[in-house]
């Protein structure tokens, strides 16, 4: 347990610190950033939610999805279709509808797809995303390459967002709320069941956990929040097009999770921010930026296989290793002897976070 967790267990349990953290960020960002940088932070916030929702599947439950863009796109298209047919519908209702549609699609899909596992399951998710992508071209009311526009005018409660500052507050509020829900889920029995299923599905089943049900639920939760992220992005950029269902999106969000690391709750948050900002900053400096962004991300993933969240722990460990030994060697079999896959020893604090 962290220091804050030990001192204020109620705060940690209720996730108040998550809400406070997002509130502080919401207030501070417009003080330091405006114009395009603030919009980039808004985009990064959306990707934070997308990465967190992907982490529910990939990090918490151990299910690899190559088709997470399917749910991102379902969210965006659901919002666009509701806006086209019932433009007076409040934006928050649209977000709920997007989450519901994606959750139902995901649950039905998972019921069948989870008869497979590992690479086969990952390929099936890829197929789902590709089929939906193709449908946008084949089904006339999805408007093919033209897509939808005018989503800036979505009413949030009774009025549309009229500035990028309003968009920032709205986006960060929704993202903060969703991440808070994920925190509660992470700390709940259901969250622990997901991690147990990830670590050893056979043992979990032997302990009485309904593995299939846990996996289907994780898939539905992940899809619902990915859909909310997709709908938020659609509102932010004002348009929805088939590109939102592309494999590139599915790949990028996995990269974001890997960069941040999934051993800690906040890893994907860090990964999403680094991904969006490195893309933005490098493309402002170089014409062929994609290659350099790819290289940078590759370096991060190779240098830090546990993601950026493992950086402080590694620094601490190196400092200890290079300094005079102040702690007597741990007895064999203690936590300090356990190693994470990259070979670095795990401290007691890190071990807690890894769970």
């Amino acid at each position: 347990m962290t220091t804050i967790g030990r001192r204020f267990p109620v705060v940690t349990r209720s996730g108040v610190h998550v809400l406070i953290g997002f509130a502080v960020v919401a207030v501070l960002m417009p003080v330091f950033f405006g114009g395009s940088p603030l919009f980039t932070w808004t985009t990064a916030a959306v990707w934070v939610l997308f990465a967190m929702s992907t982490s529910v599947l990939f990090g918490w439950t151990g299910l690899l999805s190559f088709g997470q863009a399917a749910f991102f796109g379902i969210g965006a298209y659901t919002m666009a279709l509701i806006h086209e047919n019932r433009p007076e519908t409040p934006g928050l209702v649209m977000l709920l509808a997007a989450a519901l549609v994606a959750a139902v699609v995901a649950a039905v899909f998972a019921l069948f797809a989870l008869r497979t596992s590992g690479a086969e399951f990952a390929i099936l998710t890829l197929v789902l995303a590709q089929v939906l992508w193709l449908l946008t071209y084949r089904v006339s009311w999805l408007k093919g390459e033209d897509g939808f526009h005018g989503l800036f005018s979505v009413n949030i409660i009774s009025n549309p967002l009229t500035s990028d500052l309003d968009l920032w507050y709205y986006t960060i509020a929704v993202v903060g709320f969703c991440v808070w829900l994920l925190w509660l889920l992470h700390r709940s029995t259901a969250g622990m069941a997901m991690r147990a299923v990830r670590d050893d599905p056979w043992r979990s089943a032997a302990l009485g956990i309904n593995v299939r049900r846990v996996q289907v639920c994780a898939f539905a939760v992940s899809a619902a929040l990915s859909a909310v992220a997709g709908a938020l992005l659609a509102q932010g950029q004002g348009v929805v097009s088939p590109g939102m269902l592309s494999f590139a999106i599915s790949g990028e969000i996995l990269v974001a999770c890997l960069i941040g690391g999934m051993s800690r709750f906040g890893g994907p948050i860090l990964g999403a921010i680094v991904l969006i900002w490195s893309q933005t900053l490098i493309s402002n400096l170089l014409h062929d930026s994609s290659m350099f962004v790819g290289l940078l991300l590759l370096v991060i993933v190779i240098a830090l296989p546990q993601g950026l969240v493992s950086l402080p722990g590694r620094v601490r460990n190196r400092r200890r290793a290079s300094g005079p030994p102040s702690i007597p060697p741990a007895p064999t079999g203690s936590l300090a002897d356990e190693s994470v896959p990259d070979g670095s020893p795990v401290s007691a604090g890190d071990e807690e976070a890894l769970r």
């Binding site: 033209d146 005018g150 348009v239 900053l281 493309s283 402002n284 062929d288």
Partner: protein, 403 residues
């Protein structure tokens, strides 16, 4: 210890770089007296970078020609600000904000419909005037998707009508048409419109032989090519291609060994062919193509000046994309002159109903209500020729004014 220090320093530098790069609340920079900044929003990196480069050069040539004559109305020199949307609507929404941060209030660009939409929606936030130079979807105009958006790319309906009419005039003996299109409504529809125009011109029904739709982005068309090969005698048959980009290249490369391309009475294509044809180094098969503009088809002093300037700057001939960018800048010049100011709102008002002379002959008229530019459409036969500029000859030109 040393490693830890390096690590900490790296992280600190990265974070401070991040903060510094984005820090400081951006404020709209004011345009200098005597200069007007014009944004150029194109995918300068990625799969369409080559096309975007030519399009950007078209804008540069127009700006240079205007500046060489003393600037817009002798008052404002054009300063182009190029930004890369990476063919991504989310990115285009960001770069339009970058333009606004730099004080840009007039912009052109938009490679595809979704990029035009995204740029138009984002620019509406700041009432930035945006001319969609390369998008062609009728969905974007009449009424325009946003008040600040104007489109000058000729629409697929006009392109398909022109190629249908041109084919009927030039190749009246073709009885049957085989068709290969992308499996998207706009490309399938392009054949339907072209067929209708052919039938109207010929006064008889046109027979459709083999007809295939391939997934958009498909690069293997062997199955369709086998079907075409077995379709019998092709002397009086034509092949209509509704594909573009990598699809055209793939089709040509896979069909060439079968001899199919030489057997047909005529090959026609509604998608862009020029970049593929020039890439084939004098070996491009003859294809009857349609686009807004082919440099060799216009006998006009302004066109001669544009082509000469473009060649001097780039060493190449301008393609239709370069022409569209050139025209977009010329339109902004005319609108600023008409408005007597570079103020975005007044430029938008001036653009509504504006007419300008174009290098290709017909005038470009911007609809006051529709915000759609009606200019002309050109059809021509493009064929590999090692002796022609860039290895492609352009013949059998027809210019169709668009009503």
């Amino acid at each position: 210890m040393k490693n830890a220090l390096v690590l900490r320093t790296t992280v600190a530098l990265a974070l401070s770089g991040l903060v510094l790069a984005g820090c400081g609340k951006s404020e709209a920079g004011s345009a200098d007296e005597g200069t007007v900044k014009v944004g150029v929003v194109l995918p300068f990196s990625g799969v369409q970078a080559t096309i975007a480069k030519l399009e950007g050069q078209g804008a540069e040539v127009a700006a240079k020609m205007i500046n060489d004559e003393g600037g817009i109305d002798g008052q404002w020199e054009i300063e182009l600000v190029e930004v890369d949307d990476q063919l991504d609507p989310a990115r285009s929404a960001t770069v339009v904000r970058d333009l606004n941060d730099e004080g840009v209030q007039l912009a052109i660009g938009g490679q595809t419909s979704d990029l035009c939409k995204s740029s138009a929606e984002a620019s509406q936030r700041f009432n930035l005037t945006f001319i969609g130079a390369h998008c062609t979807s009728p969905e974007l105009v009449d009424p325009p998707i946003t008040d600040n958006f104007f489109m000058i790319g000729q629409q697929m309906t006009d392109l398909a009508t022109a190629i249908g009419t041109g084919l009927a005039k030039r190749y009246p003996d073709i009885e049957t048409w085989d068709v290969v299109t992308y499996d998207v409504e706009v490309m399938r529809g392009s054949w339907d419109i072209a067929k209708e125009a052919m039938e109207a011109e010929l006064g008889r029904e046109v027979t459709v032989g083999e007809q295939y739709s391939v997934p958009i982005g498909a690069t293997s068309m062997r199955k369709e090519i086998s079907g075409l090969v077995s379709a019998g005698d092709k002397g009086d048959r034509g092949l209509f291609l509704g594909v573009y980009g990598a699809g055209t290249t793939s089709f040509i490369q896979q069909a060439k060994p079968t001899g199919l391309l030489d057997e047909y009475g005529v090959l026609a294509q509604t998608g862009v062919y020029w970049p593929t044809a020039t890439a084939l180094d004098g070996e491009a098969p003859p294809i009857y193509n349609v686009h807004d503009y082919f440099y060799a088809c216009q006998d006009d002093p302004e066109n001669d000046a544009f082509v000469a300037e473009f060649e001097e700057m780039t060493g190449e001939k301008p393609d239709a994309g370069a022409y569209q960018s050139y025209l977009a800048i010329k339109l902004l010049e005319a609108a600023v002159t008409e408005a007597g100011t570079t103020d975005s709102a007044e430029v938008q008002e001036a653009l509504q109903g504006l007419s300008i002379e174009t290098p290709m002959g017909p005038t470009m008229d911007i609809g006051a209500e529709s915000h759609a530019g009606k200019g002309g459409v050109t059809t021509a036969l493009l064929q590999g020729d090692p002796d022609a500029p860039q290895g492609v000859s352009i013949t059998e030109c027809d210019v169709f004014p668009v009503d």
